[in-house]
């Protein structure tokens, strides 16, 4: 089965927008009352900063079609997740979150890394030089 590169690229970009939107939307939980009914993810101020940065880099990756930006966003998400997982429950907690923050950041990180992989061969073919076109 052959895959149409252009539709593949569109699918990757759309997923990039979706993950970026999810990261940005999760920052709203910072303002939510601390109740189990709403706080699905613990979002502290440092986690807000990480999520906004991830969302911005992911958005740029989707907009510009630069898969390396997905890799960057994914790498940041995974590093932040591991840091959160190692520190939470201890006396030092730079990100101020808990296991839910680590899991959510891991999800975004894994997602962006998967998009980088998906985008590797799905670039839109460049237009032929004008001499070839003629």
């Amino acid at each position: 089965m052959t895959v149409e590169p252009r539709s593949d690229t569109r699918r990757v970009s759309r997923a990039g927008y979706g993950l970026s939107a999810a990261g940005a939307a999760a920052t709203l939980l910072f303002f939510a009352p601390s109740s189990d009914a709403i706080q699905f993810v613990k979002v502290s101020l440092p986690v807000v900063a990480v999520l906004l940065f991830l969302a911005l880099v992911g958005l740029l990756g989707a907009r510009l079609g630069r898969s390396v930006l997905f890799l960057l966003a994914g790498g940041i998400g995974l590093i932040a997740s591991i840091l959160q997982l190692v520190q939470f429950g201890g006396s030092t907690n730079w990100l101020g979150g808990n296991g839910s923050s680590a899991a959510f950041l891991a999800g975004l990180g894994i997602g962006f890394c998967a998009l980088w992989y998906a985008a590797l061969d799905s670039h839109v073919p460049r237009a032929a030089p004008s001499s070839e076109r003629a």
């Binding site: 052959t2 895959v3 706080q39 993810v41 997982l85 839910s100 999800g107 894994i110 998009l115 992989y117």
Partner: protein, 183 residues
């Protein structure tokens, strides 16, 4: 002509399931909702002792398997294997639930993680089903929701499985084949 043959000829074909936009949106909502359930539940499993020193948290709920047994062999396993090595068990539980949540949230290898979600739900149910103030239907509903995600391959709609499956299908590698099955 036999009566069975004539029945076959007159039978109407089985109704197709609805594959419309509403179904796809609902499947994505179920998958993301269950992902968030596991993510939130990773939030109160606090290392390094997971409530063992204060008799709270994960330790308390795990101990219910011994105090209020549901399935005696499982209670024996908890009492003799899990509780004596509780820190290791706590980290494994935290990692497993955080990972299930992360992968279901983004819809990657969704069917595989739905199976693990069912197994973990059964393990939790075997610990707490007879405990006071528990609502057994919580766990039955969790299993049902995971079954829906598994059967419908819910990562293919608004999930990364839908993005990556065409690429995996093109690849002849063993890993790609496994991921195709897991998605």
């Amino acid at each position: 002509m036999s009566s069975a043959t004539s029945e076959q000829e007159t039978a109407t074909p089985a109704e197709e399931l609805d594959h419309g936009r509403g179904t796809r949106v609902a499947l994505a909502v179920v998958r993301i909702g269950i992902g968030l359930l596991w993510i939130q539940s990773a939030g109160w499993k606090t290392p390094p002792n997971f409530g063992q020193d204060s008799g709270t948290g994960l330790f308390k709920y795990t101990s219910y398997a011994v105090e209020y047994p549901v399935f005696p062999p499982f209670s024996w396993l908890i009492e003799n294997l899990v509780l004596p090595n509780f820190a290791l068990f706590g980290y494994l539980t935290l990692l497993l639930e955080a990972t299930i949540g992360a992968f279901l949230l983004v819809g990657l290898a969704t069917r595989f993680w739905a199976v693990l979600g069912i197994i973990q739900t059964v393990a939790i149910a075997l610990s707490v089903l007879n405990a006071p103030d528990e609502w057994p239907w919580s766990y039955y509903l969790m299993i049902a929701a995971h079954l829906v995600i598994l059967a419908a391959a819910a990562g293919r709609t608004a999930g990364l499985d839908g993005v990556l499956r065409p690429r995996w299908r093109q690849s002849s590698g063993r890993v790609a084949g496994l991921l195709l099955r897991a998605s």
